[in-house]
């Protein structure tokens, strides 16, 4: 056996539903076993040192493991963040654990670990943009990592992999890119810091029902053939490669199941695409790909 380089990873779960982690468990090739155990690329192993759903240990021992990883690998560990970060009352609404009977807020953990990481991957729409947790009324004043970093003047390189949840290939492909050729360059990412390789084109551009749209054949109700625009499809304003990549090993994806795209990868989801089943404003529709503007 040759020497294997270890890449320490800390995976924080903040205001999340764990759907992003479950999506990564669904990775087909490599499998999650390959990701955890095998050399993900020859001579390179992802050393997942902290992941609340997977790791064997519990309690203070795993918090110390996380802190030790940070201390020994300053500037060289990858920080994955799943979920938005509650900021209300100094972050008191969300804690990842405690040490010496003192709770550690998600806010303080993201700040401390974020500052010293090699790079941060904000996984999912909540971590990227606030997502569901930050939807209107936003009871815990959740924010995405980008917004938080800006407010704290943290300049660690950040990659957003949005999606509710994101496709496992989007994370695996991004991590493989870092291992093979280093951090993505500015021109590799879109204006929302997402890899253009996965978020470069609209759902609408590659939609199998695109011909129906062009010919004006619209489904008026579920179960019907035709473009789903009248049923609220957000494919014309959502950037992701779902129609080409498909989901869950290629067996299906939303529109193939007759379900309109709900725009789950987009900045401002779910508020800017709500009501989800209402046809979008006709003024927006002809200009496919126009970004929603909020705030």
């Amino acid at each position: 056996m040759g020497k294997v380089e270890e890449y320490p990873i800390i995976w924080l779960q903040c205001a999340t539903c764990t759907g992003c982690s479950v999506s990564i468990l669904n990775s087909e090739s490599p499998t999650i076993k390959n990701i955890l155990v095998d050399e993900i690329l020859p001579g390179k192993h992802l050393n997942l040192r902290f992941h609340p759903t997977i790791m064997a240990g519990a309690g203070q021992a795993v918090i110390e493991e996380m802190e030790e990883t940070q201390k020994r690998n300053r500037g060289s560990y990858i920080l994955m963040i799943e979920g938005a970060i509650p900021t209300i009352e100094d972050g008191a609404y969300g804690c990842i654990g405690e040490k010496d009977e003192k709770p550690i807020t998600m806010l303080s953990a993201v700040e401390s670990l974020g500052k010293e990481a090699l790079a941060v991957i904000a996984l999912g729409t909540c971590a990227s943009f606030g997502g569901i947790a930050a939807a209107h009324r936003n009871p815990s004043k959740c924010v995405g990592v980008d917004k938080l970093f800006k407010s704290l003047s943290i300049t660690t390189p950040l990659i957003n992999i949005s999606g509710c949840p994101p496709h496992p290939d989007w994370l695996v492909g991004t991590v493989a890119g870092i291992l093979l050729k280093g951090l993505p360059k500015e021109e590799d990412l879109d204006e929302y810091k997402r890899p253009k390789a996965f978020y470069g084109k609209l759902i609408h551009e590659n939609c199998p029902r695109r011909a129906d749209y062009d010919e004006g054949k619209f489904a008026k109700n579920f179960n019907e053939p035709g473009c789903l625009c009248e049923l609220g499809c957000k494919g014309p304003v959502t950037y992701a490669d779902c129609p080409l990549r498909l989901w869950n090993g290629g067996v299906n994806w939303c529109i193939n199941a007759g379900s309109p795209c709900i725009g789950c990868c987009e900045f401002g989801f779910p508020d800017v695409v709500s009501p989800l089943y209402q046809k979008m404003n006709v003024e927006i529709l002809p200009i496919v790909g126009r970004r929603f503007e909020i705030e």
Binding site: M1, V4, E6, T16, C17, T18, G19, V22, S23, L25, T31, I32, K33, V37, H45, R49, P52, T53, M55, A56, G57, G59, A61, V62, E65, P86, E89, Y93, G94, C95, I96, E98, P103, M106, I132, A135, H136, R137, N138, S140, C142, P165, F222, N223, W247, N248, G249, V251, N252, W253, C254, A257, G258, S259, I262, P270, S274, P275, L276, Y277
Partner: protein, 504 residues
Amino acid sequence: MLEGGLKLNKIIIDPITRIEGHLKIEVSVENGEVKDAKSSGMLFRGIEFILQGRDPRDAQMLTERICGVCPTSHSIAAALNLDSAFGISGKIPDNGRIMRNLILGAAHIADHILHFYHLAALDYLDITKVASYDGSDAVLSSLRNFAERGKLEPFIPRYEGDYRLSDEITRDVIAHYIEALTMRRKAQQMLSIFGGKLPHNTSVVPGGVTMVPTTDKIISFMWRLNELRDFIEGVYLPDVVVLANVYSDYFDIGTGCGNLLSYGSYDLDGKEADLSKRERLFKQGTVSRDLKFNKLDIAQISEDVKCSWYESGSAGIEPKFGKEGAYSWIKAPRYGGKVYEVGPLARVITNYVNNDPKIKGLVDSILSRFKAEPQKLFSVLGRHAARAVETKYIADSMQDWLLQLKPGESSYVDYVIPDESQGVGLIEAARGALGHWIEIKGKKIANYQCVVPSTWNLSPRDDRGQPGPVEQALIGTKIKDESNPFEVVRIVRSFDPCIACAVH
């Protein structure tokens, strides 16, 4: 030191890992026995507040995002809730009803396999034993190479000590841990065939399901199901028995509150609008430790917040972090003022006492191996056994349902959103009884309430001071080694906690 010289130690486990979400468990141990226990949910998002004022049709898309482990259960509870609010409960086409059952069944299979192998098993299984493997199996060899490199995270750190399985059995179960990763992934693929994608399936909507079943989808679903049924029968169920053989003391540990509650699930009839009267695979009702069955009266469900971080305001319950005497974001649901456990154990026992022949056969075959009475199921091992038994029961039933689908025929019925209405949706999620309630005003959501399985099981004390089910299961437990409190985490994980769900 306490009065009388007794030694009282506090054990805090935060985070409890290998569950969904942010859970803290604190126990006070006096002379090796748990005297007090507190269960605390440590994240509040407030999805019910976020739902207010929105289009009611969005509820199933937003509520499934309460939880990425069990989104499917929320989508179906929400769809039933909206069906009832829209006045179409008895009108969903059979294809829609059956596909919803198949979607929910696939979710249960995926969740239960994940729970046993990937969330619970590491409390019993010494995965580091793979380092001494000298055989030729490719998977075990790759694990040995991993162990030899010496970076064992995320499998260390961990509690050390009480790993009792022999070397040979340990290697078998480690191989099954890896195989189970593939199996749960295939169960999610199977779900996606009718669900669209996972996590957060898209096809379940009020009125039915967005897609029409076709023969190619049915056969593709069926052969994935067949592969899973082989795994459930040939690997999962036997592994639970293997575990029970070696850890049989856990039939007497974590016995809990002794009251079980099930809403029933898997509609076998779509014409009855009243969910409490509908014929379902799993029956509705409550069962006590003496196996006495009672019909359920939904009106007796209430939620207490005395020990939860909420206070009553003019507009209802509002978050109030740091409230005096409170220690959790989880509320305390109670039935008739009493503490009830929900989950696979409740479902299996409810059908057992109603003399369901298949459930009785499966349960009795396990109990007879241990010469045990059904009461022994009220335990850590009983919960694992019930989960495995119902996985087989559901998977076998799904085979029949698949053949009842009518390819090419409708699975959806249209509706008009009423100006004002109310609804209720009751099902069994993987982790237990799940209820959604809606109030619609001006065609918008005025109020949306979810009472979720882990809200029941992980609840803190209620207004009368009664500890919740997990708290009761912990109190009285003997802890052999306080620096490696295996008993605590084994009890907690036997409930399969889901805290994003519990707080929502």
